[in-house]
């Protein structure tokens, strides 16, 4: 798989340089919703910039809940790729999201925390906010498989 080895190379580079800007460009779904990832000290910050295409309720107007979910899930997967002891491609097992507030058509930010990384499964919690980190629009949790293949 040529694409996969190219991605692996960029991932290794991102891990060693803390420059995460090229990663999301290689993942079609991440590119489609327009998300990107930047380093924040030793951590990563995920950003879903304001984009009218991602509207779910044109009357309010509010962001589509499914886009927010997809963004948070993708953030968790990239976070694992960047911060696991060994670079592996995590596979989603299940994903659960709580919507806490209506999210407006504005930038969304997300940060992830690996609650537990075992040898086979990693549990990641994700928090997303818009105006203030203290008032999250959603929290989510994902379990990922960490097979080596």
């Amino acid at each position: 798989m040529k694409n996969q080895s190219a991605f692996r190379e960029v991932l290794l580079q991102a891990r060693s340089t803390s420059d995460y800007s090229r990663l999301t460009g290689l993942l079609p779904y991440a590119r489609k919703i327009g998300m990107h990832c930047q380093s924040l000290g030793d951590d990563a910050l995920f950003v879903l910039p304001e984009n009218k295409e991602n509207t779910g309720n044109p009357v309010l107007p509010a962001l589509h809940g499914g886009v927010l979910g997809g963004f948070m899930e993708m953030s968790a997967a990239i976070h694992l790729m960047l911060f696991m002891d060994e670079p592996r491609i995590p596979k989603i097992v299940d994903f659960s999201i709580d919507y806490l507030r209506s999210s407006r058509i504005q930038d969304v930010f997300a940060e992830c925390k690996v609650v537990r990384q075992g040898s086979r499964i990693a549990n990641v919690s994700i928090t997303a906010w818009q105006s203030r980190r203290e008032t999250p629009v959603a929290t989510a949790r994902g379990n990922f498989r960490l097979d080596s293949n």
């Binding site: 779904y29 499914g66 994903f95």
Partner: protein, 153 residues
């Protein structure tokens, strides 16, 4: 109570009015008081890895969220805006590459305040789903036109 034809037209209008659903090409395939089936075509922009033909789980989440929301709406006696309270998706396997995906969703219980929904994502056979999910939605009692009026104030 709406007839199945009326429900179908409501779902169609909704999907069309929601920019993200329209962009992903979601279309209703079946609508009745028992639930909805919404399909989404394969699109390489939704791939997990370029060239893999596999739609990313995030896009599946979007499809299921939309279908669950539709199922919640049509289960209510009158249309209300229903924000999602929570959503959980189990990814049982991978969808087949380069093929459209579908989601069947139904509201299995509606109370005064909450609509409980569940459903599966599949391709050819509903009994062979690649994802399973549940979602809960809050009943606001506010119709879309109420909301538009409030916003106009």
């Amino acid at each position: 109570m709406n007839t199945d034809e009326q429900l179908e037209s409501i779902v169609q209008q909704f999907l069309h009015a929601i920019p993200y659903c329209r962009i992903l090409g979601m279309v209703p395939e079946q609508t009745s008081s028992k639930g909805v089936v919404i399909s989404m075509p394969f699109n390489e922009e939704l791939e997990a890895n370029p060239g893999s033909g596999i739609i990313h789980s995030g896009a599946i989440t979007s499809l299921m969220d939309s279908a669950f929301g539709m199922a919640a709406c049509i289960a209510l006696p009158e249309y209300e805006t229903c924000p999602t309270i929570d959503l959980r998706i189990d990814h049982l396997g991978l969808p087949d590459p380069f093929k459209p995906v579908r989601c069947f969703a139904e509201a299995y219980r509606v109370t005064k305040t909450v609509a409980f929904t569940r459903g599966v994502a599949y391709q050819d056979d509903r009994d062979e789903p690649f994802a399973h999910g549940v979602g809960t939605f809050m009943r606001t009692g506010r119709t879309l036109s109420d909301m538009a009026k409030e916003l106009a104030k």
